[in-house]
Symmetry: C2
Subunit: 757 residues, 2 copies
């Protein structure tokens, strides 16, 4: 150890001593955590790195980058005051590589020169003895760990043990006090089996099999060590995701999130496990052993490049990674089970007779209205549910109830493909929706009503701020649903699931609808891997004031667009004015109005260039101020306004104010935004105001629903073809049938209308 | 160096000597590459790591994982026979950290104990001299590189130089021959400025500023070194993405893909560049200097965790990363410019009068038909365009031409929101489509016709197999378009752009449609970051044979579904039969027919359990065989068939064969697939057969289009609101207006129909 490294270590030692008096240990040693959330408080953590984690590389033999990021995480947690220990495998593989070189080089150079290009891999080698490999590899492995930890000013210490050491009380006590002392000095002990002194591997083990003894030993070694040291958490990293309910790769295999020992019989161990002797059964046994000893255990994948950089910190933060072993039976269904139930209930919901849906919907509205009216006034205030809001909510719900009558199963298209071969395209629900909303519980009855009306199953995840209100509202909704036996079609996630985890259920959730701040939407868009997200992250709305605009309308519309609710996504952010308006009375009136309303103006570059004393220049023409602020810019023509909006806008809602119908129609036609308005405030871009009933959000996406999304955005279609034994071959060149492709009217009833011939 | 490390190095040295006789140097030194594709042949590569790459960490000070993955890439390329050199910064930062510790520790422990929690960061420190820092850091930095490279059996050597060394001929020659010798021995030289002997930094540099001299020096050092050593490629990694046309962060800033020195005046250097004195201008100067010396240069980001793991290998593979400096002016527009032009042309296309579109479409069809008919017979054969296929193609194009009449601008919904406030929802094109197709040029006229009919701009990327055919077909399409001045609305990417790069243009492309193998679709789905992909990666279609099925229809439909075109996505993969059919004549007939057609049967577990001698058991019930193979499984009821399909299917196309109408309707209603058929072959799931004209693909997504997608799947909607100065405030509690929300008929013409009052 270099002098300065030792000094750093000594310094940290002093620091630790000080902290011991201040920071309490997270929790009492001796009992494992009941759920993942408690893992945050784990103070003493054993990280076990399987051989695959340490040595399995892509091309070059060693997974250096993976190891580096694991070292980084361990050092980080150590610096946060946790006590970290590493149990490592890989010395055998390390040594194997090293000995191979030595042997190759001791063979004659001449032979090496004639044995082809990839001789390092191809040359036949004598079978290497595993224990010799381990001894040869140990020094290299430790040197690597030390070099890496040194970069974080973290000291390491090498400890070699065997399982047998735990059976000898004296040895165990010595080991215990050594490790305690190292931890006390803020040194990370790196523990490996002392392979040189363990019994030899089974006689039939070949070179490929030598890793096995390390893996197997290290699983139980890590468990023994964790219990001996009263660790709070054992993280076992390997090349498997965790524990599956049946062998991975089979049709029904599912990763188990929380494993409760009482359920052990439900696991089927594969006969051809990828991990051989050190396979899952051994891992589970070791994990259960540790669990009984009071240490929580998580088994997770340490080789997946997508997660390796944060797998350890994620586990410590309580995120859903790998399999968590718990002595406490998980309460209630998992979110996957909830989603499964929701989908089943949803399918029943969709197959209810339209009258029933409509009826049910009305009943839910009534209940919701009552429930909202009954909420204590204080809560109403906190939730910003004014009487006006409540009223429009109720009207919206009634509109949905009416629309529900013919939403699902509506025939959009009918085609006679050929004689006796009829095609229909009908509306069906999308499936399972995940709605994530922040502190706006008024969203719950709206979204629930839309889901019921469209036959979709719904998984709700509300903000923490209104948990109780949401719970009450959700119970009322379920009461209404249970009258038709589809209680579970709308479920609410009360678990500690992170939103991120929900967004990964791409096999179970068909559409995610975030309702809240643009930050929420952006986060969800980033988190949703493979699931479409309906919504918009930006609302940069423009109002363009044309030369032919009416003064009154301009003032009214600009004021309303900016000031009615400045934080809304449909509020104006940029005011574009025609150049000819500059220095006219209209211009002065606009400025006066904005001043009176205390709207701060940011000048666009052209606007600034026209003024003697310009307000502060806009930092960007793409800013969403979401406040009593806006950008002002000058354009030469309606066409230039369109170009400006295409370049800087977010395709949300844009407005022209003019009395010239030709200009207006051109603007409406050319502008490529979800909502284009003529002589109306941008604030009308809203599902309720559009007459869609409640809305699930406003979409600026260009596929599926666009603009304010109501009922129809929650529907998709399916194609129903009714034939009489028709085959594609009948229509081939020499076939007997011809395509007719006649469009049929869609007003006819669905079934029982086929030709009888 | 340990003995075995030296041996390994010596061994590689021998290997290199052998290879020198076999592997030719990629290209003559002394002239830079004309485009990125040539970078594959670069033999000698200098990788320059900016200080930010080496030392900027997240929490712990050092970016160990980043450095490890860079070392991995360099070692990999070295092992592939490239000659790699590293120019590194960071010694100053390394030494700074080390000296800080020393100083802190030399202060009294008492003081340290009382100075708060984060004293490492907070404590006031004397200003450290940069050169002292550099000297102190050099050893640690080299130790780290050596430890890392050792893991790949790669030897390193430390070389310290100053810019001045290049001005002294003797010194330069010495340096040159030293480096040549190291490269010849397959050793990676790690080069840094000898900061201890360079002139002191400017007097006002404080501790935060000390990095600057290294960065600045290292940019020109790397360039000088690359030219001196006749390197083919200099990769300069820093914390910037590359060169922007204006300061990053401003509205119009765009990353420059290929920088041609003649265009230098079009660059605006930011005054507040993030990278300080070692900013972009210095980097560009160094890059141009190297370029003039015959070395290609790429400036890229080495700190972005999403790309660091493969940034160097990506650059060497010719991928679009960072900014590539080229002495050759890029020929033709970039794909971004093409896309931009396509969008503009597309907007014009969309605003053409419907009659024009339709007319144009017909003319394109005619041209396409002619062009196809004129293609040499040999080519036709190669493209598998049979007369029958050609015929159905032509019919399909005519159907599209007819449908084009009222596709864009169609009013879907009209609502009187209030007096004089009318809302319309109208169809509009999606925008810019990217269609990626494999070796099927018949797809080109189909997709082009659909794009024109729907007013979308189209970017085509064809397979290499039919480049010339595609070029001819595309020219014909553009001729038709140019008659209406929208020639660029359909462009074809002939550049060397990788498909992956196109899939990243999320600001420019609205929808990606891959047409080809399921592997292609899966790759595209993975590559498309933030752009929706229309298509399906799996077609696991089922035919369920009910107890009440007609024998004839079963045989016809099962044969057609499986054997008509087994590789198609709408071919049957699993045959479900009702238990009561087992051991009936129908069962025997099905088996006989499948035998005759040489269809290999895989037995599902239940089916296998019923048989004395079962065929091979299916490995999974979720297999898409895409060949004359299928899975057979037994179910107890129609309901169980539905459950089976929901569990194992891909929601593509599923068929029931039965004479019982009730059973059939329940199946059609309950089954949740894009296409559900009764007594008809699964092969009918096809846009042309459905009467949609040509199809762009079959979607199994649950939002937007579902099933075979024709014209309508390429449309979205916009909302047009026409008012008379209406504001949201007018409708508030105390406002003067009331919402009417009257549904109006949609048959009225678009414009000029407003109330005059």
């Amino acid at each position: 150890m270099l002098m300065w490294q030792f000094s750093a270590c000594h310094f940290l030692f002093l620091r630790l001593h000080r902290e011991l008096g201040e920071v309490p240990f997270g929790r009492a040693h001796g009992s494992s955590c009941a759920h993942r959330g408690e893992l945050r408080h784990a103070k003493r953590i054993v990280v076990k790195l399987g051989s695959a984690v340490v040595t399995r590389g892509d091309e070059c033999g060693l997974a250096l980058g993976r190891l580096a990021s694991i070292v980084e995480q361990v050092a980080m947690l150590q610096n946060q005051g946790k006590e970290m220990m590493i149990v490592t495998s890989g010395a055998v593989a390390f040594g194997k590589q090293r000995l191979r070189h030595e042997i190759l080089l001791s063979q004659s150079v001449r032979q090496a020169l004639h044995s082809g290009h990839n001789q390092l891999k191809d040359m036949s080698l004598p079978v290497l003895e595993a224990r010799a490999c381990a001894a040869a590899g140990q020094s290299g492995l430790m040197a690597l760990y030390e070099a890496m930890f040194t970069q974080y000013s973290t000291c390491t210490a090498q400890v070699l043990v065997t399982n047998l050491d735990f059976h000898d009380d004296q040895k165990r006590q010595n080991l215990n006090s050594t490790l305690q002392e190292l931890l006390r000095m803020n040194i990370v002990p790196i523990i490996n089996t002392n392979d040189a002194v363990v019994p030899p591997p089974e006689p039939n083990s070949d070179l490929q099999g030598v890793n096995v003894i390390s893996i197997k030993d290290n699983d139980s070694l890590a468990a023994r060590l964790a219990v001996e040291m009263k660790a709070d958490l054992l993280i076992a990293l390997s090349d498997v995701e965790g524990l599956y309910n049946s062998p991975p790769g089979t049709d029904d295999a599912k990763l188990i999130d929380i494993f409760y020992p009482g359920d052990q019989q439900s696991i089927t161990y594969g006969t051809k496990s990828r991990v051989g002797l050190g396979g899952m059964e051994a891992k589970v046994k070791a994990a259960l052993w540790a669990l009984q000893g009071g240490t929580s255990v998580v088994i997770a994948n340490g080789t997946d490049p997508k997660v390796t950089g944060h797998v350890i910190t994620d586990i410590v933060e309580g995120k859903k990674v790998g399999t968590f072993f718990s002595e406490v039976k998980p309460a209630g269904p998992t979110v996957e089970q909830q989603t499964e139930m929701a989908r089943d209930s949803g399918r029943n919901l969709a197959s209810l007779h339209p009258d029933q849906v409509s009826h049910q919907n009305i009943s839910i509205n009534e209940i919701n209205e009552q429930s909202i009216l009954l909420l204590p006034a204080a809560m109403l205030k906190r939730l910003s549910l004014s009487a006006a809001k409540l009223n429009s909510l109720a009207i919206g719900l009634r509109q949905i109830a009416v629309a529900a009558q013919d939403s699902v199963g509506r025939v959009l298209r009918r085609t006679r493909v050929a004689h006796n071969l009829e095609l229909e395209q009908i509306t069906v629900p999308i499936g399972v929706l995940l709605v994530i909303f922040e502190a706006r519980p008024d969203c719950l009855p709206q979204v629930s009503a839309l889901a019921i009306a469209s036959g979709n199953a719904l998984l709700l995840k509300g903000g923490k701020e209104a948990t109780n209100t949401n719970r009450v509202l959700h119970q009322l909704t379920q009461e209404a649903l249970s009258m038709h036996g589809v209680r579970e079609a709308i479920t609410m996630s009360h678990t500690r699931e992170e939103v991120e985890d929900l967004c990964r259920l791409d096999k179970m959730i068909d559409l995610i609808i975030p309702r809240g701040s643009s930050q929420l939407v952006r986060n969800i868009q980033r988190a949703a891997k493979g699931i479409p997200v309906l919504g918009h992250s930006e609302g940069i709305c423009h109002v363009y004031v044309d030369t032919d605009a009416s003064v009154d309308k301009v003032i009214k519309i600009v004021r309303d667009s900016k000031c009615d609710y400045p934080a809304a996504c449909n509020a104006m952010e940029t005011l574009l004015i025609h150049r000819d308006i500059l220095r006219t009375p209209l211009f002065d009136q606009i400025i006066d109005m904005l001043r009176t309303e205390r709207v701060k103006i940011h000048a666009g570059p052209r606007f600034a260039s026209y003024l003697t004393f310009s307000p502060s220049e806009a930092q960007s023409l793409r800013t969403e101020y979401s406040d009593l602020e806006c950008c002002m810019e000058v354009v030469d023509s309606m066409q230039e306004a369109v170009d400006h909006i295409h370049k800087y806008g977010s395709s949300h809602t844009d407005v022209i104010v003019t009395e010239n119908e030709d200009t207006a129609e051109q603007f409406l036609q050319q502008l490529d935004s979800a909502c284009v308005f003529w002589n109306a405030s941008s604030r009308f871009a809203d599902g309720y105001r559009f007459g869609l009933g409640a809305e699930v959000g406003i979409s600026t996406a260009r596929i599926h629903a666009r603009g304010p999304v109501g009922l129809e955005g929650l529907l998709t279609t399916k194609w129903v073809l009714r034939g009489d034994g028709h085959t594609a071959a009948d229509f081939s060149e020499h076939g007997t049938m011809k395509y007719l492709h006649e469009n049929l009217p869609v007003t006819q009833p669905l079934a029982g209308q086929r030709d009888s011939n």
